[in-house]
Amino acid sequence: MDKNPFSLTGRHVLVTGASSGIGRAIAVESSRAGARVTVLGRDQNRLAQTLSALEGDGHEMNALDLNHADALERMVLGLDGVDGVVHAAGITRTAPAKFISQDDFQEIMSVNVQAPMELTRQLLQHKKINKAASLVFISSVVGGIMPYKGQGVYAASKGALSAYAKVLALELSARKIRANSISPAMVRTRLLDSVNIDAATLDADEQRYPLGYGTPEDVAWAAVYLLSDASRWMTGSNLVIDGGVTLT
């Protein structure tokens, strides 16, 4: 019988931002689909919690700051070849355009854009990306589809990330390596704490969503699809997954 095209059995998947929220759900759901997962994040304790939530054997964790080039390179050098990479680490801050500081800009861009580009460069340079691998970038509807006030740098960072994924898709297609981004709308995670919106405003915002806000698993299942052979004809796409909010 043919293998289930949605299965990740026998695949090694690297997930950044796996110590929390969407990245954690992606790591867990990938393991449930059969993958061996290497999880990255900064916070040791939260990352260890993710590791212990993974199904199956052979998973590994590596706590590091993605913006520390040396630590990143050490991690990459010690890594087995990967069949999938999910870039889920990301941050934001809220400031209207006239208050965006150089600090806000540097910090958000370095985590949301520079780190995934640098990790990809190192993985390619050190020949750690296996043939027919799938690269997934967690972007956002805020990156050019549905603006939110106060999210100027975040929007710019996510727009940049989705655009970069398309170039990568073109460059790597000769080796059947695919690159896609996912643009979710609002999901309740720790990220929302840094946006400084209160519960009442969030509840009102959620009313705009035909299917309500999403859960980390809703995004994770899209990522599992993109990591699997079921999406083997899909590259350079930006999968919008938004509970219908952009219809309204």
Binding site: T94, A95, P96, K98, F99, N196, I197, D198, T201
Partner: protein
């Protein structure tokens, strides 16, 4: 921390409303220009100038500029 200085900084976040309309007693949410963006601007100004993070909800609970000032003073210890 001076309340008049705060009122001036608060007024500076408005583009259309004349600064002379602002006093400590102004009910700012009744101003035509009050919006989610002016709220974000006021929050950013408070963070930059006073090093204090207040939430949109906190600000929305206030009636007058003086109420917001009290919030900043309280958070500033």
């Amino acid at each position: 921390m001076d309340v008049n200085e705060f009122v001036n900084a608060f007024a500076a976040e408005f583009e259309e409303t004349d600064p002379s309309e602002f006093t400590a007693g102004t009910s700012f949410k009744d101003l035509g220009e009050w919006s989610s963006l002016t709220s974000l601007s006021v929050i950013s100004m408070i963070k930059l100038k006073y090093g204090v993070i207040v939430s949109g909800l906190d600000v929305n609970k206030c009636t007058t500029v003086a109420d917001v000032f009290a919030l900043v003073k309280k958070s500033n210890g």
